[in-house]
């Protein structure tokens, strides 16, 4: 078998899966986004040109939702990254932690739970009447048990907190893995060279750790952008619109309203934003690699 044929033969199954289950639906999505089409009423699909898109542009609430989603992503990923990096560093540093394997297993469990279950169960954990959390918070701080999900001001942070709880372990894991990528010999020689802690971080640890760490951040950003099950189960986007992330909006447009055309246009807009975000990240990553001359 000639080499090029073999090369592509190996890639073919992946591309085939990709084409059938991703490209095809996406093309379909693009097509639908130009149609005025509602499943449950109205005429059969009608070509509407860019109408769905102009509608989106004029939808003054949509931008609020996108803003909220970006805020959510920014805060969630930001907090998770900082916490994850710090704790990850601590766990990496302390490799002789007694029972480290068990400790890390316990630590990693939150991210393997089903978001539906987590969202639902946190409703009761947060409940001001039956919830453990408000109960102990009240006892500790000598306040009234806070109503976390039922308050316009607290619902967003409360949802954010659950996301942080679920996904900080992921970034801890990535940090531990990333730091593992730093050659030990380099670290030792840095010790001998008497570099300050900051210098050691900047010149020894970071160049090796950043790829994995950034990849963790990229993956988390992508996933945070898509957060759906968790919020849908916990607040259904409420109270009011306080946790109405854009993925909930898409789902609503598509599967409550069956506004297929509009939902498609919105999906593509969101996809475009997600791809741009990821591209920026990857660009930064690559740029970093180029600059370090690797």
């Amino acid at each position: 078998m000639p080499q090029p044929l073999f090369t592509w033969l190996l890639i073919a199954p992946s591309l085939a899966l990709f084409a059938v289950f991703n490209i095809l639906p996406l093309l379909w999505l693009v097509g639908l986004s130009f149609f005025r089409y509602n499943l449950t009423f109205g005429p059969p699909p009608q070509f509407a040109g860019l109408k769905n898109y102009t509608d989106l542009m004029n939808d003054r609430f949509l931008w609020g939702r996108l803003g909220l989603t970006l805020l959510f992503v920014l805060l969630a990923v930001g907090i998770e990254t900082v916490l994850g990096a710090l704790l990850g560093y601590a766990f990496w540093k302390k490799r002789d932690l007694p029972g480290r394997r068990l400790a890390l297993t316990l630590l990693f469990v939150p991210m393997v739970l089903a978001p539906v279950a987590v969202g639902t169960f946190f409703k009761i954990i947060y409940d001001p009447m039956y919830g453990v959390l408000p109960y102990y918070a009240a006892r500790l701080l000598r306040i009234k048990p806070p109503d976390l999900l039922g308050s316009g001001n607290l619902a967003f942070p409360a949802v954010l907190a659950v996301d942080v709880w679920m996904w900080t372990p992921f970034l801890i894991m990535m940090t531990v893995a990333a730091l593992g990528a730093v050659p030990k010999a380099l670290l030792e020689s840095a010790e001998v060279d008497r570099l300050t802690a900051w210098q050691r971080m900047r010149y020894v640890v970071w160049p090796h750790a950043k790829f994995v760490l950034m990849l963790g951040v990229v993956l988390r950003t992508i996933d945070a952008f898509k957060t759906f099950d968790l919020v849908s189960a916990m607040t259904a986007g409420g109270p009011g619109n306080q946790t109405q992330l854009v993925s909930l909006t898409i789902f609503r447009e598509a599967f409550n309203d069956f506004a297929i055309g509009k939902a498609s246009a919105l999906s593509l807009l969101v996809l475009f934003i997600a791809v741009s975000l990821a591209s920026i990240y990857l660009f930064v990553l690559n740029y970093g690699v180029l600059r370090e001359g690797k």
Binding site: P4, F6, T7, W8, I11, S14, L15, L17, F18, V20, F21, N22, P25, L26, W28, L32, A90, K94, P98, G99, R101, L102, A103, T105, L106, L107, V109, P110, V112, A114, A117, F121, K123, M129, G131, V132, Y135, W165, M173, M174, V176, A177, L179, G180, A181, F211, V212, L219, I222, D223, K226, F228, S247, I250, F255, I260, S267, L271, A274, L277
Partner: protein
């Protein structure tokens, strides 16, 4: 001096264990609820010590007229098949991209990553339309293949990272020794990227095992998995069924926990995307 250092070390251990415990606490609370009665779950002040009841677990199994077993079987089969297919297919592609570096390799890597960026609610719709016209709604294989596709990018990224780290000299030495291409791929190179394979398997398993939306919309009763059962069973005529949620969470999280415990080293190593060989 040594005494002080030892105390500091003990304190650090204690602190880290406290962190782990804190993160595990909500999970523990859910697990605990699986052994509580409904009233105990709702009791405030919270009950920590009690006589465990197996009522919740028993009810979970009996509740959907035995369908629980089918949900579990579906979950196991669908996720195992999907992840295996994904990792296998991704390995082939990663091998090709890593070894033969065809044109547009970087572009393809990014393209495949973009699968992950698509919001679920966005693709489920056209996918649903597509499945509908192909008559795939409720088909096991259609669900498995979809999940396989969804698990592709991450597997590919991990595996390519690892494959890039395995010197081509191995391939070459084996080839001159007379090894076929497939021998090189599966007997010479594959064993060397085991951490990547394990990490890809586990990581995608977590996703597929927990996925709800696609199975719910594209599947039917026949392919319903535990998360779908969970969503369908959240409410009973008695109100929200906390026992059921807790029991189900316990039962289907446990295998993943065990897996994480036993393959932790591989998982951590895997998450380095092949940038490190050795201990993490």
């Amino acid at each position: 001096m040594i005494g002080r250092r030892r105390i500091a070390s003990a304190l650090a251990s204690l602190g880290l264990w406290a962190v782990c415990a804190a993160f595990f606490m909500p999970v523990f609370w859910i697990f605990l609820a699986a052994f509580k009665t409904r009233a105990q779950i709702l009791t405030i002040p919270p009950i920590w010590v009690f006589h465990p009841s197996l009522e919740g677990l028993r009810f979970m199994v009996e509740r959907q007229a035995g369908a629980f077993w089918q949900y579990l079987l579906n979950s196991v089969m669908i996720s195992a098949l999907a992840v295996t297919i994904a990792v296998f297919v991704a390995y082939l592609a990663a091998f090709s991209l890593s070894r033969f570096k065809p044109a547009a390799t970087d572009f393809m890597m990014f393209l495949l990553l973009s699968i992950r960026m698509v919001p679920g609610a966005a693709v489920v719709l056209p996918l649903f339309m597509m499945y509908r016209s192909l008559g795939w709604i409720g088909s096991r294989w259609a669900i498995v293949l979809f999940y396989a596709m969804f698990s592709l990018p991450f597997s590919l990224w991990i595996l390519k990272g690892f494959l890039d780290g395995v010197s081509r000299r191995f391939d070459e030495a084996a080839m001159v020794d007379g090894a076929s291409r497939f021998h090189v791929m599966f007997r010479v190179v594959l064993p060397q990227v085991k951490p990547g394979v394990v990490a890809a398997l586990i990581f995608n398993m977590i996703f597929v095992w927990n996925e709800f939306l696609f199975d719910f919309i594209l599947g039917g009763e026949r392919v319903a998995t535990i998360p779908v059962a969970l969503a369908a069973g959240l409410y009973t005529s008695q109100g929200t069924d906390w026992q059921y949620i807790a029991s189900l969470t316990l039962v289907y999280t446990a295998p993943l926990m065990v897996a994480i415990f036993f393959v932790q080293r591989h998982l951590l190593l895997g998450m380095t995307f092949g940038t490190v060989r050795g201990e993490v």
